[in-house]
């Protein structure tokens, strides 16, 4: 019955994702991305910054929905919390004549903290509400954003939004680095931080617990998992990532306005992570890219179409929605695991012929050497 000799070679080599390697990869990726922005025109650099800001939110959302099985339709509201938290703090610091890195980092931290606090509340509710009820609650929160901003219009700027006095790029960099490049750097650094943290969480025991809670709550409890705590922690973490995304977006656009965090945008975020590939951070990247690229593509299409200016303008706003919807349907039929799922499957197909047959290489498992108590395995007579 023993399977020592047949243990999969892959299993013998199995290791949890080492933090240092992830850190090195993140730093390297960030360095490459930062270098690449130098080659971009200002507008493209700005777009890269927006993609990075969206990536913070989609990465957080994909952890929550894909791993945690908790559907949030309100992530735009969490981004808004981050944006307004950032804006109010940045303005307050500016009014107090505070400048320097503090005026960038403290508002970012406050943005993250505001979103995380709201996320913790939603998570606590989510620990009691299931599926559609939680989704309904998060929907209510995102619908409430414009009402909140207009109720407190003196502080939050109402419908027109809150103009934000921001910390610009350091003096020393100004001759070499454009404003948009600098914004992209900040956004990319934020995205790198989010990917590093969520990568750590997703790869280890914490990610396993999050998935276990999604799959079977009763069994998760019996396995020793504090289901409520895991749910609240997942939602809080996801919200913090979205909050950082919102704060970065506020920094990049220098405004926090309710129109940017609408219900439609919130739904777009969900569609983006599904289309990108639910549960995977790479999928979150594809989703964020689509969120920026699709409206641009559709507007270039409407520009090219021989239609009247009025119609083109109306199409401009709505065509992206239509294309997103169609894309979702097509992808769910063609690649139910999203873009990243399709890419992974394609790579596997490429690899297959070259790989030796499964289990062909007999390797003694680590279990063989480290077996603790031989008596425990000794067969006893019945």
């Amino acid at each position: 019955m023993s399977a020592h000799s047949r243990i999969d070679a892959r299993a013998a080599r199995w290791r949890p994702g080492p933090t240092l390697r992830r850190l090195a990869l993140t730093v390297l990726g960030l360095a490459l991305a930062i270098t690449a922005t130098l080659a971009l025109e200002p507008y493209r650099a700005y777009q890269a910054a927006v993609v990075a800001a969206y990536l913070c939110a989609t990465a957080g959302l994909t952890l929550l929905v894909g791993r945690g099985g908790q559907l949030s339709l309100g992530h735009a509201a969490l981004m808004a919390a981050g944006a307004y938290g950032f804006g109010l703090t940045s303005n307050a610091l500016s009014a107090a004549d505070v400048a320097g890195p503090v005026r960038l980092l403290v508002p970012l931290a406050v943005g993250v903290a505001s979103a995380a606090a709201l996320g913790a509340l939603l998570g606590a509710a989510g620990a009691r509400l299931r599926g559609p009820y939680l989704a309904g609650l998060t929907l209510a929160v995102v619908v409430a954003v414009p009402a909140i901003t207009s109720t407190f219009s003196r502080t939050l700027g109402g419908d027109r939004g809150l103009w934000i006095e921001i910390e610009r790029r350091p003096e020393a960099l100004r001759p070499y680095v454009g404003a948009e490049q600098w914004q992209a750097w900040v956004a990319l650094a934020a995205a790198a931080l989010v990917l590093f943290v969520l990568g750590n969480v997703g790869s280890g025991s914490a990610g396993r617990q999050i998935a276990a809670v999604r799959d079977d709550e009763a069994a998760a409890r019996l396995a020793g998992i504090d289901v409520t705590r895991v749910k609240v922690a997942t939602f809080t973490l996801s919200a913090a990532a979205a909050g950082l995304g919102g704060a970065v977006l506020a920094y990049v656009t220098q405004i926090a306005n309710p129109g940017a965090y609408s219900l439609v945008f919130s739904l777009f975020l969900v569609v983006a992570v599904v289309v990108g590939g639910l549960g995977s951070l790479a999928g979150a990247f594809w989703g964020a890219l689509l969120l920026v690229a699709l409206p641009e593509l559709t507007s270039s299409v409407t520009d090219a179409l021989p239609v009247s200016a009025g119609l083109a303008q109306r199409l401009d706003g709505n065509l992206a929605v239509l294309v997103f919807g169609v894309l979702l349907i097509v992808l769910m039929i063609a690649a139910p695991r999203g873009i990243q799922g399709a890419l992974t499957a394609a790579r596997r197909r490429d690899m297959r012929p070259r790989r030796p047959a499964r289990g062909a290489t007999p390797a003694p498992g680590p279990a063989a050497q480290t077996q603790g108590d031989p008596a425990a395995r000794a067969p006893t007579a019945g």
Binding site: P16, P18, N200, G204, S205, Q209, A212, A220, A376
Partner: protein, 273 residues
């Protein structure tokens, strides 16, 4: 270190004292007292609806008793489900409750969740998190190997035949090396060979590790041959509690339960419980 004769040590691992549970108008458990000692295998039988699962749920903190007391290792407890593993209690579920999105190895590693460092440690990928994962993976592989299903470590539960899944569920309960093991219909849906393996595993756990085992099972032959003691529930009341041969001969038991299911006929294999 295994005890030479754990039965004589007889430390009381689990005891219920006059436990009653009432759901609305239904008396699910009525003044039930039961003990399971270290190294002892106790079978809990009774017709459907007799309160067997309710009794498990009381021990696991899923159902609060209306009155009565639960003691673990001699100390009175108000069991909290997710703290049971830390208190040395593990339970398998009738429906297995395997995590479909995790591999078999990860499913078993999840059984060690009570010792996982917090989310903050996870976020920064702290060293102790990685060490925990390595240790958990090693222990999971050990248990899977003991149960003869290490081959399946990288597969998902959904891809495996029912008897293998059943062993994975058992492995998840065993990985924390519990002092008290609650098995909910461990033989349900298994064939003769798998049942023999199961019986060997259970006896081994009790004899060499001194594990206290309480099992709910419909397979009467298995219960009678495997258990040191058999307790019979009927309509929430404990109507018998003693050695298998005594219980088997008890007219009240025959009336309530044994007469219904021909105890001599071996149950057909296959078919999920």
């Amino acid at each position: 270190m295994s005890r030479s004769s754990p039965a004589t040590a007889a430390t009381e691992r689990l005891s219920l004292h006059n436990v009653s549970v009432r759901f609305g108008g239904v008396q699910a458990l009525d003044q039930v007292s039961l003990t399971v000692s270290d190294g002892e295998v106790v079978g809990l039988i009774g017709p459907n609806g007799a309160g067997k699962t309710t009794l498990f749920n009381v021990v696991c903190g899923i159902v609060r008793p209306t009155s009565g007391e639960v003691r673990l290792g001699g100390t009175p407890q108000r069991p909290v489900t997710h703290r049971l593993v830390r208190d040395g209690v593990a339970r398998t579920l009738q429906g297995l409750g395997l995590f479909a999105g995790l591999t078999v190895r990860e499913n078993v590693m999840a059984g060690l969740s009570s010792t996982v460092p917090g989310m903050a440690a996870a976020a920064i990928g702290a060293h102790r998190m990685l060490r925990h994962d390595r240790e958990a993976a090693r222990r999971a592989e050990d248990v899977l190997d003991e149960l003869g299903v290490l081959d399946a470590a990288d597969r998902r539960p959904g891809d495996l035949p029912y008897p293998v899944r059943k062993r994975v569920a058992l492995a998840r309960a065993l990985v924390s090396e519990p002092a008290l093991l609650l098995l909910d219909e461990p033989a349900g849906g298994l064939g003769a060979a798998d049942i023999a393996d199961l019986a060997r595993t259970v006896r081994d756990l009790a004899a060499t590790r001194g594990c206290a085992i309480l099992l709910v099972e419909h397979h009467v032959d298995l219960v009678m041959s495997l258990c040191d003691r058999v307790a019979v529930l009927d309509f929430g009341r404990l109507i018998a509690d003693g050695a298998p041969q005594e219980v088997r001969a008890d007219p009240a038991v025959v009336d309530a339960y044994l007469g219904i299911e021909a105890p001599t006929a071996p149950r057909a294999s296959g078919g999920a419980a």
